[in-house]
Symmetry: C2
Subunit: 79 residues, 2 copies
């Protein structure tokens, strides 16, 4: 069972990587970019075959390691 | 219009960040993790209001800056 964990900086948290990408896009001539936020996606290949338990396991992993829940929010998707 | 660009290492490309996350998860006692791949997600807030043109613009940005298409694949989603 595969799970995808999306980790994004929370609204209001400064995102220097996103800002840098935004500036670089502008420098390359891409206009019309209002805002850029940069996050991570982690694809987990789990032995677990039950979707509910796989989602629970991925959420535990996100809380303990993959996301810093003080400044980042995460979302788990079973695929 | 918002667009999300997902960038993942291509299959077969070495992913040291994913490997490190896999080792860390094992060290934390999470068993049953067969494989981990780490990628990026970039959320773009575009002035463009037409979904097809916004998707086209995001794909152009991905090809020119956000993804290294030699070793990474990308996918654009309009949200």
């Amino acid at each position: 069972m595969k799970a995808r964990v999306y980790v994004m900086p929370k609204a209001g948290v400064l995102d220097p990587q996103g800002k840098a990408i935004g500036n670089a896009l502008e420098g390359l001539g891409f206009g019309g970019v209002r805002d850029v936020r940069a996050g991570k996606v982690i694809e987990l290949d789990l032995l677990e075959t039950d979707p509910a338990r796989a989602k629970q396991a991925a959420e535990d992993m996100a809380r303990k390691l993959l996301a810093n829940t003080v400044i980042e929010s995460f979302r788990v998707e079973i695929i």
